[in-house]
Subunit: 188 residues, 2 copies
C-alpha cells in the first residue's frame, strides 16, 4: 500500500495523480488516495503558494507547463489559482473509496484541464454529479472526518503536495517519483 | 555554454556540482560556474534555509542523504549549517576561471564531505592554499566583482541553488537535471 497525499489545487499533485497508479502497479502495490489541505500545512510551515513568491512565482508557472510536457501530460494553468479545496476534500471523504478515487480524478481534470473553479461547492457537486455521485458536503460527520484526515496528514509530517509515504519513507514532489520507483524495487 | 549557479552552502548545489560537467559534455557543452549568495536571493523571495522550516526541515535532511545515495555521491551533512558563503564566493571571483573551478570543487568537498566550516575566511584560504592558490578575498575590487555577480544572478531571476540557465531556459534544482538533459538534446 502506498499513501498518496495531495491537495486538489496543487499542479504537481494533479500531474502526479496521473502517474501514481501505474507506478504502484509496476511494483504490485495499490494506492490509498488521501487529499489534504495545503492551507493547513502552510500554517505549520509558514509556506505560501508558489506562484505568489517573487521570482519563484514566474519560474513555477513555466515549470508546471514544462513538467507536464516532460511527462506527456495535459496542463492548463487555471484561473483563479489557487482555490480553497475544502469542498472537494469533503466530497472525497463523503464517498466510498472507489467512488472517491473516480471523483478525485474528475475534480483534478475539471480544474487543471477544463478550468472549472472547484473552489466553488456548486462546481464540486457538478463534477460529482457528472459521475452519478451525490456527496453530502454539508454533513457534520463529513466535516469532522475531513478535519481528522487533514490533521492526521499533518501529524505524519505531510507538508506538501504530492507527498507519498511507503512504509514510513516519505517522498515529497513529483520529482521524487524516480527515487520512489527505485525504492519500491528495493529500499536504498 | 551552460550557466551553472549555486551557493557554496547548498546541499543540492554540491550534489549538482558533481553531475553538471558530465551532463554538459554529453551534449557537447561547457559549463560556466557562477557562485551566488542564497541569502541575497532569500531577501527577494522571503525564503529561509530549508532545514529551519517546521516539518520540511526534518524531511530535507533525510532527502539530502537519500538523494546522494540515489546519485551514488558522498554526502555528510555539515555542522554548522548553513554558513555564510561570502568569503568562498569572493575567493572564487578573485581567481581565473580554471583556478576558480578547481577551488569550487575543493570548497564543496571540504564542507560537505570533510565537515570543514567554509564560513570561516581562514578555512577558505586553507582550501585554496591546498591547491596552491592564493585568493585575495579582502581586495575591494574582488568584493565589488562578487557583489556585481550576485546582483546579476538575481536580475536573471536566480532564486535557488542549483539553478541552470541554457539559452534563456531556467532549471531550478538537481531534480530538474532530467529535464535539462532532455532539453539539451532538443528543447521541448
Amino acid at each position: 500500500m502506498i499513501d498518496f497525499y495531495f491537495d486538489f489545487s496543487s499542479p504537481f499533485g494533479y500531474l502526479a495523480s496521473q502517474k501514481i497508479e501505474a507506478l504502484a502497479a509496476k511494483h504490485g502495490r495499490t494506492v490509498k488516495w488521501r487529499p489534504m489541505l495545503l492551507g493547513a500545512a502552510f500554517k505549520a510551515t509558514g509556506g505560501v503558494p508558489l506562484t505568489q513568491i517573487p521570482l519563484k512565482g514566474e519560474y513555477s508557472k513555466r515549470d508546471f507547463y514544462r513538467s507536464a510536457r516532460f511527462h506527456a501530460l495535459e496542463y492548463r494553468h487555471p484561473e483563479p489559482f489557487p482555490v480553497s479545496t475544502v469542498a472537494a476534500c469533503r466530497a472525497f471523504y463523503s464517498l466510498n473509496e472507489a467512488e472517491a478515487v473516480r471523483f478525485a480524478k474528475a475534480a483534478f481534470k475539471a480544474y487543471f484541464a477544463d478550468n472549472l473553479n472547484i473552489g466553488e461547492p456548486d462546481n464540486v457537486l457538478k463534477v460529482a454529479g457528472s459521475l452519478g455521485l451525490t456527496p453530502n458536503i454539508g454533513d457534520q460527520a463529513v466535516k469532522d472526518r475531513t478535519k481528522a484526515e487533514v490533521d492526521a496528514a499533518l501529524a505524519r509530517g505531510v507538508f506538501g503536495s504530492p507527498y507519498v509515504i511507503v512504509e514510513g519513507e516519505p517522498f515529497w514532489g513529483l520529482d521524487r517519483f524516480d527515487q520512489l520507483d527505485r525504492w519500491l524495487k528495493a529500499p536504498f
